[in-house]
Symmetry: C2
Subunit: 314 residues, 2 copies
């Protein structure tokens, strides 16, 4: 009898999550712990293996899906680069496959989260475009039931849509004027702090939101600008991709619930009415679990996760 | 023996083209004439039928493909709306199918042109994104050998990517700040004429280019701005779609050959280096024939163009 479960692992810059997920994408068991990337790849891996072993013993899993904040070579399961984790050229898929003797697939975390949200949306009209506004502004695109990767795995990078053509803010990617440089969490904190000249700076987006609610004009302006530029980037995405469903989520969207509403108002002033006419818009449903559920579902979907005889050998 | 040829018809706002095309996408016979949309749909249709009849007699065609400057219902072959032609809700596919007793497919002209350019590119790395800068700024996207339509047939509308977030130029679509409002032919002519206060205005992009070459500062600035904003929109397309191939063509690109080079320079300052690393960039190869060749190829590809027994009845 084939195993009913797959194991999802989501390795983020701050937190790592594991979840045993069934064929209906319900979580049977889960665990979260700090990633501590400063412990190096070996340290992070040891912690994952320690957490996964008892889960796999209790719930036999047909395959493992890993979502990781990294550029991934999908074919080989190699983590190529990861600015957030500091790891490079790690054969993550092969290591886990070897360790647990089940197939392992590796995917970028934002793509996996988009796939999770797609599965959580009954009757989603495709393409589905998911946008997560958090530390970065990430996007994932689902076409014909699959993640759309583009030529090299870099499709749906909505965070780097240019929204200010001249003298834009510097972005972490090295370019200027990307929407992430206005709407990402650290960008909001930095920009609000800069407008607070002489006064206290902010620790996080929550603090900026509280200051805006308490009447701080600079904080309110920074938040409104974040939403407006996010709206411009969403309009670019709608006009280029003509999605059937648009999902908005992420930590900043949770910290400032008005973000989506304001961004969508702005989007509607720049998106083609024909592309908006039938667009379904909704908030993300899975929260921080989207990546781990999406990763587990990708593992189930992968041809490598068939019965043992059909398994791909690494 | 199945017919070797298909007939392509490209109905533009100004010119209509017919071409008999073989299985290698070579043109065996072609004809061009003014569309004269003011003669109404009946008049335009009569002219097309008169031109097609002798071609079809000489070259038996398995199917007809129509490229039209319109929003098209792909399933039914109905021309839904066409601001450039002034026609609405015309069952174009069914009419031609009835008239010539062969299957007819109908497609948006920019999408058909993108498909033509795709076929003209040996070993094109996908996705292929084709951008045509002419009266409008149109785009087409080819994924897995097919036109990518999005949810409602409006994908790849690169002309309406917002490039100026605040107080942008008014675009023909009704929104503000679209790249078409800076880089489309009429936009260039209008903006250059406006900078010529009191002096003569321009008839076309060629005249603006000549003035710029003769040292007119305003004309040169308008052209440079067109290229810069086009570059910003291309960067948005590259970051969202991660194309393997980018094709640039259209009448404005032909009238001002520096357009592509300047736009690409600007694009490279806003596109993700990872998405640019393997991007193949080239000029359009088919010129004004792209639409008619693409339409004929779509007719060949359509399941409706099989042998008579398998034909879809309308």
């Amino acid at each position: 009898m084939p195993a009913r479960y797959t194991l999802g692992i989501d390795i983020g810059g701050t937190t790592t999550s594991l979840a045993v997920v069934d064929a209906q994408n319900h979580v049977a068991r889960e665990k979260r712990f700090p990633t501590n990337p400063e412990a190096g790849f070996e340290g992070v891996l040891r912690r994952i293996i320690e957490a996964a072993a008892p889960a796999l013993e209790r719930y036999p899993c047909a395959a493992i899906g890993v979502a990781v904040a990294a550029h991934v070579d999908l074919r080989t399961g190699i983590l190529v680069t990861s600015p957030n984790l500091g790891f490079e050229n790690v054969p993550l898929g092969a290591i886990l496959q070897e360790e647990f003797s089940v197939p392992a697939v590796v995917e970028n975390d934002v793509n996996a989260a988009a796939f999770g949200e797609y599965l959580a949306t009954p009757m989603a009209r495709e393409p589905l475009c998911a946008v997560f506004v958090g530390t970065g502004v990430g996007g994932g695109l689902i076409v014909d039931g699959d993640i759309f990767h583009g030529a090299d795995g870099f499709a749906a990078e909505i965070g780097h849509v240019p929204v200010v053509a001249q003298a834009g803010e510097r972005c972490g990617c090295g370019q200027r004027g990307c929407v992430e440089a206005y709407a990402g969490g650290p960008a909001i904190v930095r920009r609000a702090s800069a407008r607070c000249r002489g006064k206290a700076t902010f620790d996080d987006v929550d603090a900026v939101v509280r200051a805006a609610e308490a009447g701080d004009r600079g904080s309110a302006d920074v938040l409104e600008e974040a939403a407006a530029y996010l709206g411009v980037a969403l309009a670019a995405a709608v006009n280029l991709l003509n999605p059937g469903t648009l999902v908005i989520g992420g930590g900043v969207a949770r910290a400032w619930p008005a973000l989506s509403e304001r961004a969508l108002e702005r989007m509607k002033r720049s998106a083609l009415p024909a592309s908006l006419a039938h667009l379904a818009i909704r908030g993300a449903l899975l929260g921080e679990r989207a990546g781990v559920i999406g990763a587990a579902a990708l593992a189930r979907k992968s041809p490598a996760s068939g019965p043992p005889g059909s398994r791909r050998t690494p």
